[in-house]
């Protein structure tokens, strides 16, 4: 394996004495699609939040392209090329879809302090190209407060892509969507990522999605990694089968 893009080393985070994440270490290669799976409450979101700097780990290191980024705020991590989507979508409710992407682009171009030129004239073509990539161009003028949930996820993806990231962190990208839609969104994400050589770390409950798209799978249970490897290996792992008791889908 070449130098890893992202490395987590011994990450620990406890909430009120209980370790939600307990010594998680893994590496992610450039361009790789890595799935982090595990039952609810296993610590997946907590992991994500430590990777992009939203919460500080109690112990452990995070490295991006060999550089230690532990303790950097999320905005600095984004600058280094890590885009993220949230389990519960977070977008700018008072803005249109286009303005949401424009805000991300203005940040990408470091033009947020402009006091003079109307934002409405800046980076419009670029914003529309991004929206086109995620299939949201037709909705560019809609207020994002009225979007369907799946479309909000797509919008988040477009915003995450605005900084031409090396890595996308997607926490449950298809949660709350209809099964058919899920497959389509993941298909789209995978295509975009492959095309641009972006690595993706994602959590997901739908096993069809996981095994259909992931290059490798990590399994988290009660804060610890219990298995890691190619989808086939993980599927065959007896401990994983035990955790997903009655998981006939394996």
């Amino acid at each position: 394996m070449s130098t890893p893009l992202l490395e987590a080393e011994g990450l620990i985070k406890a909430w009120g004495g209980v370790r939600a994440v307990d010594g998680v270490s893994f590496a992610l290669a450039p361009g790789e699609m890595l799935a982090l799976i595990g039952p609810n409450g296993a610590g997946k979101s907590t992991c994500f939040n430590m990777l992009n700097g939203q919460i500080r780990p109690d112990a452990g290191r995070v490295r991006l392209g060999g550089r230690d980024i532990t303790g950097l705020p999320p905005r600095a991590v984004w600058r280094l090329g890590v885009g993220r989507t949230f389990q519960v979508t977070a977008t700018f409710g008072s803005m249109s879809v286009r303005e949401n992407v424009r805000a991300a682009l203005l940040s990408h171009h470091r033009r947020l302090l402009g006091l003079w030129r109307p934002a409405a004239r800046l980076h419009t073509a670029e914003a529309e190209a991004l929206l086109d990539r995620v299939g949201m161009l037709a909705q560019a003028d809609r207020p994002c407060a009225v979007l369907a949930y799946g479309d909000l996820k797509r919008l988040e993806l477009a915003m995450a892509l605005a900084h031409s990231p090396r890595l996308l962190l997607m926490d449950e990208p298809t949660a709350g969507m209809a099964p058919a839609e899920r497959g389509a969104l993941m298909q789209q994400t995978a295509a975009i990522a492959r095309e641009a050589g972006i690595a993706v770390l994602f959590t997901e409950h739908d096993m069809d999605v996981v095994f259909g798209h992931a290059d490798r799978v990590l399994v988290l249970e009660r804060g610890r990694l219990i298995a890691a490897g190619a989808p086939e290996e993980v599927r065959a792992d007896p401990r994983v089968r035990q955790v997903y008791l009655g998981g006939g889908r394996f």
Binding site: W78, S94, A103, S107, W116
Partner: protein, 615 residues
């Protein structure tokens, strides 16, 4: 050494009085989440009512022990009943309104009580009798110390103890504590929540009334008691942590002693000291000494509406009216020209506050600090350096912007009520400096003779100057709102999480917006100073901050043209009311109440909605 001990005792006595008021405030907040600006008014009413009961009517005839103590208790009960009545008629309707609206509604009550008290008791100070059994002084460490003060020292801990028993040993108190933690849960228990809330207001108001009534033997009863005590009580409650009784007690001790010793060490800056302590506490512990972080805001506040443009017809009409006004100015008399220049200043003042409240989503209860900073900068330059008006107008925005950078660095870290309180505290610091630094600022007498340069001295020329500069200011602010900076400002307001995740430094954006707004408020203040020919500490005082808030809220926070409409409506209304009646505070208070209860989205919001319906 002895003197210090006695000074410490005096500090304890004032701490007790403060705690009585602050405890009521914090109990009310804990359960209803309302920060009651009118709490100082209840305190003042307690003092006036006690004076009346003690010196007139049957209790006065009874005289002696019951004549006095009966009067004090009766006053507290009456104020409690009034508090309950206010809860049932007004406050109950605004439990789900945004915090600023709640503050405004209770501020309206302050205005109303002011005029009612003036009507009932007149403008002269009232002096009460000495308290029976507690006259005279005792000797402590060889120094004389008033008996009544000793009694007050005991009152604080006793009340704290009684409240503790009430909250921990009675069914009522346990329900109240449950309601503090989870309002829905209590209604699920089948308890009539409305009764509970009314009872809490009775309790809180009675405590304020008692605090006021107990001042009778200590100091004169005046119409200024309300503002003086409410600001201190806010400080105490905020330092202690909103909703925390032990916190309020601790903070009252701290502030009481700070006053007592501050007078000895820094007699000139006691006021500044108090607010500095508050600022330091809030920066280190954003929720006060013993307070808990507030829960998520109610869902109604989470999705701010889109900014609405005014309906086209209305926008054209407004522009037409403005143009007509500029053309007609040469034919107007002096008085309307002065008035119009004031309007221009208020529009800019309101528009600057709107930048931080609307797109910024921050609350400021102390925007007058920057208005005043600009006014004082211009005034001081002229007074001490003989700088001409042009220089003053040029430098005032920078001075105010610097003050905004300094204060904003603290304020923009907080949100909601705490941010409102911290901005208020900083404005009070600025006010105390202007008020107490007499050599430089002239103190209460202000700076006089701050006149414009010769060419702008005529009323017409000064109106055009004001209109031009304010127009420029409003235009720059509007451009900022539509520029990337405004987008970033809205972004961090809509979702701090997402803003951070796309590389936006929310703190920096909020901070710069705060300073940018402060600069324009400073320009407005400097123009105002030259228009009036003088600068006074009142330029920085709470009522002026409230003026700005009212203009913005009257116009509507979520509209870009709102502050303009709001400023015209509010300044016009105030002017008209002051001309037709002595009781303008009463009327203004009623108007604000009506606004909060019936037009929560402001004039421009209502107009835009009306336009949409017709379209």
């Amino acid at each position: 050494m002895e003197a210090l001990a006695v000074q410490a005792l005096a500090g304890l006595a004032s701490a007790s009085s403060l705690f009585l008021v602050a405890s009521g405030l914090t109990v009310i907040f804990g359960v209803s989440r309302i920060v009651n600006f009118a709490h100082g008014s209840l305190y003042m009413l307690g003092a006036y009512l006690a004076w009346t009961f003690v010196s007139h009517g049957p209790l006065a005839e009874l005289g002696g022990f019951w004549g006095f103590w009966g009067g004090v208790l009766l006053a507290a009960l009456c104020v409690g009943a009034l508090g309950a009545a206010l809860e049932m008629t007004v406050l109950r309707r605004i439990y789900h309104a945004p915090e600023l609206f709640q503050l405004l509604a209770t501020f309206a009550l302050v205005l109303i009580v002011q005029d009612v008290a003036l009507l009932l008791w007149g403008a002269d100070d009232k002096f009460g009798p000495r308290a029976p059994l507690l006259r005279g002084a005792v000797e402590i460490l060889g120094l004389r110390f008033p008996r009544y003060e000793l009694f007050l020292i005991a009152v604080g801990p006793v009340v704290l103890g009684l409240l503790w028993l009430l909250f921990h040993r009675t069914r009522f108190g346990i329900l109240l504590r449950a309601a503090t933690q989870d309002r829905e849960m209590v209604s699920a228990l089948g308890v009539d929540q409305r009764l509970l809330f009314t009872a809490v207001f009775f309790l809180g108001a009675a405590l304020a009334g008692l605090g006021g009534a107990l001042q009778l033997p200590r100091e004169a009863v005046t119409l200024h008691m309300d503002m003086a005590i409410i600001v201190e009580a806010f400080v105490v409650v905020v330092i202690g942590g909103l909703g925390s009784l032990p916190g309020a007690f601790l903070a009252a001790l701290l502030i009481g002693e700070l006053h007592a010793f501050g007078i000895l060490v820094f007699p000139r800056i006691t006021l500044v000291l108090v607010f500095l302590v508050m600022a330091v506490v809030l920066v280190l512990r954003p929720h006060g000494l013993l307070g808990a972080p507030p829960g998520a805001p109610p869902a109604s506040e989470q999705a701010p509406p889109l900014p609405r443009p005014l309906p086209r017809g209305l926008r054209l009409a407004t522009l037409g009216a403005l143009a007509a006004l500029l053309l007609a100015a040469p034919f107007l008399g002096d008085y309307p020209l002065i008035l119009l220049a004031d309007f221009a200043v208020f529009i800019l003042f309101a528009a600057s506050l709107h930048l931080i409240m609307g797109p910024g989503g921050m609350a400021s209860f102390g925007h007058a600090a920057y208005f005043g900073a600009g006014a004082y900068a211009a005034g001081l330059l002229l007074r001490h350096l003989a700088a001409p008006m042009e220089m003053g107008l040029l430098l005032a925005p920078f001075a105010a912007g610097l003050v905004g950078l300094l204060f904003g660095w603290f304020c923009v870290r907080l949100s909601g009520v705490y941010a409102a309180m911290l901005t208020l505290a900083f404005a009070q610091i600025a006010w105390s400096v202007a008020f107490q630094w007499v050599e430089v600022t002239g103190g209460d007498n202000g700076l006089l003779g701050i006149w414009p340069s010769d060419w702008a001295r005529g009323k017409l020329a000064f109106f055009y100057l004001s209109a031009a500069l304010c127009g420029l200011g409003v235009w720059l602010l509007r451009r900022a709102i539509h520029a990337p900076f405004g987008l970033a400002l809205r972004a961090q307001r809509d979702s701090a999480l997402r803003a951070e995740a796309i590389g936006i430094d929310a703190f920096r954006i909020r901070w710069l917006a705060f300073a940018y707004a402060a600069a324009f408020a400073g320009l407005a203040g400097a123009l105002f100073a030259f228009g009036k020919g003088s600068v006074f500490p009142t330029y920085l005082a709470i009522p002026r901050s409230v003026d700005a808030l009212l203009m913005v809220l009257l116009g509507g926070v979520q509209t870009v043209s709102g502050p303009i409409l709001g400023a015209i409506a509010y300044a016009g209304l105030q002017e008209q009311l002051a001309r037709v009646t002595e009781l303008w505070r009463l009327l203004l208070g009623l108007v604000i109440l009506a606004l909060v209860l019936f037009f929560p989205r402001g004039l421009a919001g209502a107009l835009a909605q009306w336009g949409e319906k017709r379209a």
